[in-house]
């Protein structure tokens, strides 16, 4: 798939206006919209995610890149739907009941979008019903976030509430550990936004 170097760089450097401009130019030229996304933008987000994992990029840079990515997606999304482009998978993400923290959750959501997933953002303070609804609407994987030890126990209730629904469940957030994920029977855990993308691919059988 052809890679537009200028677009790749613009996403990587978080240049929102440049991303929107280049995407628009490509669209006007008649370039395949899926190729714009998968050939240049998704690899750029993967690159920044890997840099983050290697301690070579940090949260501010990742959020700024994700924001630039979003500017491109705003143009591409309706066109991708029209073109019948299928996302990698449909996933839902939300902060659990009682918790309003969403910066980490938003970052994970953006990285998932950046990787080519369709992401349903359920917002904050989500009860079991909200997650169930997302699964009914096609979410193949549900990601739960909690920042407080006081709200984390709700994850256990969500896991039992969603038992047998067929969707995979991943958990994350400052107090969450692999041990806790095992204890409550979640399908996986991740401690940062980049590994969350990888974990999602693994549980859905999409990992290369």
């Amino acid at each position: 798939m052809a890679k537009n170097e200028a677009l790749f760089e613009a996403v990587l450097k978080g240049k929102r206006k440049d991303v929107a401009e280049i995407v628009q130019q490509e669209v006007d030229k008649g370039t395949n919209v899926a190729e714009i996304l998968m050939g240049s933008m998704v690899p750029a987000m993967a690159e920044i995610g890997d840099r983050f994992s290697r301690n070579e990029a940090y949260v501010p840079e990742m959020l700024i890149a994700a924001r630039a990515m979003q500017a491109g997606l705003n143009i591409l999304d309706p066109l991708l739907t029209q073109a019948g482009h299928k996302p990698l998978a449909k996933v839902a993400i939300g902060t659990v009941k009682g918790d309003l923290h969403d910066i980490g959750k938003n970052l994970v959501g953006m990285m998932l979008k950046g990787a080519g997933f369709e992401v349903m953002d359920l917002g904050v303070d989500c009860d079991i019903e909200k997650y169930k609804e997302a699964v009914e609407n096609g979410a193949q994987c549900v990601l739960l976030s909690a920042l407080l030890t006081t709200t984390m126990p709700y994850m256990k209730e969500v896991v039992s509430g969603l038992a047998g629904c067929g969707a995979k469940i991943l958990i994350g957030g400052a107090p969450v550990t692999q041990q806790y994920a095992d204890e409550i029977g979640a399908d996986g855990y991740s401690n940062d936004a980049n590994t969350a993308v990888k974990a999602t691919k693994v549980v859905l059988g999409l990992a290369a």
């Binding site: 290697r54 070579e56 501010p60 918790d99 938003n106 904050v124 407080l148 006081t150």
Partner: protein
């Protein structure tokens, strides 16, 4: 069982038992080891060296032979042998030597009419990190003396969210209450009274001002409800007799909290509002209290709205590789240009051990101006290398500020790109909170007539540098006013003027609380504010990109 603790040539023996951690036992010996993560074993601030003995570390038994040393986390280590010897490195000790506490305050004009005109009053600002107390002669209103100490709760956890979390486990609420009263306030009372010759029993009125979580814990009420939606405090007002709280003052003395506005906008902000006369000002005035929680209040022709942001403890040096609190041996200012010839000042001692919040703001601002740091907070690595200031720490680029031979730790003092990222997140939380609060009023930073900065940190930051990194709005330093410790001033007013109590109850009903995450604008403003100074360049017209 007994253990000998050694620190800089001094030895203290205390009784030991295998139920307590080395961190806790060291406190019995009178040494307070720093536990930034709250003793959960996830940081390395509490490192000690084990001498001969048998120990359990993270559940595993180990034996240390005589003449051997083993470095461990004191919060995860218990002693099993009859005798043991432990060496505490200087860097692990929570020092209060020369701590720079803002005890300067301006008490606004008021009617001198104390509720208890005979005796002494005690005004206390209970911060998440520091506690400041003032002894006031109620016969004439003079402030006799002031003293400050770290809030000893920092031995358990650094920020309010961690302390709320701790309180959800049995026994911790009582432990935290004991730390702030028996280990912090009472020593302050003794210092104040011993130094002035005032009998402790003559203190008949005590007003405490602090954030809502601190007030709950102080009065022994669980703050857990503040940790979850809808963040409702158990109460906004508290009152008790001194003996019930075991405060070493007149047993029947009245102890009251300055009332809180909400779960996250506390009595310290109520105090700031009265002390700065915010609510009676014309035009658009914003009050910002930069602390672990950045609270702010916007007042538009008497209409107030308020919010709190989770800035975290980065401005207090926590979470930074060589960060330190603003105390002795902390670098407090830095200046340099592209020659990277760092001009630093150090509090107290000439040999620094780390840098505090005001210094890291200077560092990022100077670095941005001279092109060392780009708008995303990344170094020009070539420039660092060409000036021999480059080091790699855990795979991260770092700038060497102080060479090993000039530091108090014997290691280089550096700033990593991760450290810069932590500060960018903290400053983004404050700036985007302010911008969102104004947007809710239909205003922008351009409309601000006046900014009031409250809290200890604001007193010591370089305003131009704070504006340069995008922490504070770029509206000219002439519009800024620094009021010092408004929380202490507010507590003082409560004992000096009997009408203050009523005024406080009126103030807390006025502000409308804005929940930032529920607004449409916050997430975008936050992302924009992560860059230096901001991705919305219109907000920072005076900051020229290098």
């Amino acid at each position: 069982m007994s253990v000998i603790f050694n620190l800089e040539g001094r030895s203290v023996a205390v009784e030991s038992d295998s139920d307590r951690t080395v961190l806790e036992l060291a406190r019995k010996a009178g040494w307070h080891i720093d536990a930034k993560c709250g003793g959960r074993g996830s940081c390395a601030s509490c490192n000690v060296l084990l001498g001969a003995g048998r120990y359990r570390v993270f559940g595993e038994e180990i034996e240390v032979a005589p003449d051997m040393r083993r470095e461990v986390l004191s919060c995860q280590t218990r002693i099993l042998s009859e005798t043991a010897e432990i060496f505490i490195p200087r860097a692990s000790i929570l020092s209060f030597d020369g701590a720079r506490i803002a005890d300067e305050m301006d008490i606004p004009e008021h009617t001198f009419s104390p509720l208890f005109p005979d005796g002494y009053g005690l005004a206390v600002d209970i911060g998440t990190t520091t506690v400041v107390a003032a002894l006031i002669d109620l016969r004439d209103g003079t402030i006799v003396s002031r003293e400050s100490l770290y809030n000893q709760q920092i031995l358990k956890a650094d920020d309010v969210v961690s302390r709320i979390s701790l309180c959800s486990e049995a026994g911790n609420l009582e432990a935290l209450q004991e730390l702030v009263i028996a280990h912090t306030l009472n020593p302050l009372v003794h210092k104040l009274c011993d130094g002035t010759g005032v009998a402790r029993e003559r203190i008949v009125h005590c007003a405490v001002s602090g954030n809502t979580v601190m007030m709950h814990i102080f009065f022994g009420v669980s703050p857990v409800s503040i940790g979850v939606i809808p963040f409702k405090p158990v109460s906004r007002t508290f009152e008790a007799k001194a003996h019930a709280l075991r405060i070493d003052i007149g047993p029947d003395a009245r102890v009251e909290a300055i009332p809180a506005i909400s779960g996250y906008v506390g009595g310290d902000i109520t105090s700031d509002i009265l002390a700065s006369n915010l609510w009676n000002r014309d035009g658009l005035t914003v009050l910002i209290d930069i602390g672990t929680n950045g609270e702010m209040v916007a007042c538009l022709d008497g209409q107030m709205s308020a919010c709190a942001t989770a800035a975290g403890p980065a401005f207090e040096g926590a979470g930074l590789l060589h960060g330190t609190r603003a105390a002795s041996r902390a670098i407090d200012t830095i200046a340099f240009d592209e020659s990277l010839d760092f001009q630093i000042t150090v509090i107290g001692d000439p040999n620094p051990m780390g840098l505090c919040g005001s210094a890291i703001i200077d560092f990022i601002a100077c670095g941005f101006r001279c092109g060392l740091i780009n708008m995303l907070g990344r170094y020009d690595v070539e420039l660092l290398k060409s000036r021999s200031c480059h080091e790699t720490v855990a795979g991260m680029h770092a700038c060497v500020l102080v060479q090993a031979e000039d530091s108090a730790t014997g290691e280089t003092i550096t700033v990593t790109e991760y450290d810069i990222a932590e500060i960018l997140k903290a400053k983004a939380a404050i700036y985007s909170g302010l911008k969102t609060l104004l947007a809710e009023l239909g205003k922008t930073v351009r409309d601000i007539d006046r900014v009031i900065l409250a809290g200890g940190f604001a007193k010591h930051i370089n305003l131009e540098n704070a504006i340069c990194i995008g922490l504070l709005p770029d509206i000219g330093t002439g519009k800024y006013e620094v009021i010092g410790n408004g929380s202490l001033a507010g507590a003082s007013l409560a004992v000096l003027d009997r009408s203050a109590a009523q005024t406080y109850l009126e103030i807390i009903e006025r502000p409308q609380i804005v929940t930032l995450n529920k607004t449409a604008t916050f997430t975008n403003y936050f992302q924009e504010a992560l860059a230096i100074p901001n991705l919305d360049e219109d907000d920072f017209p005076s900051i020229v990109k290098p």
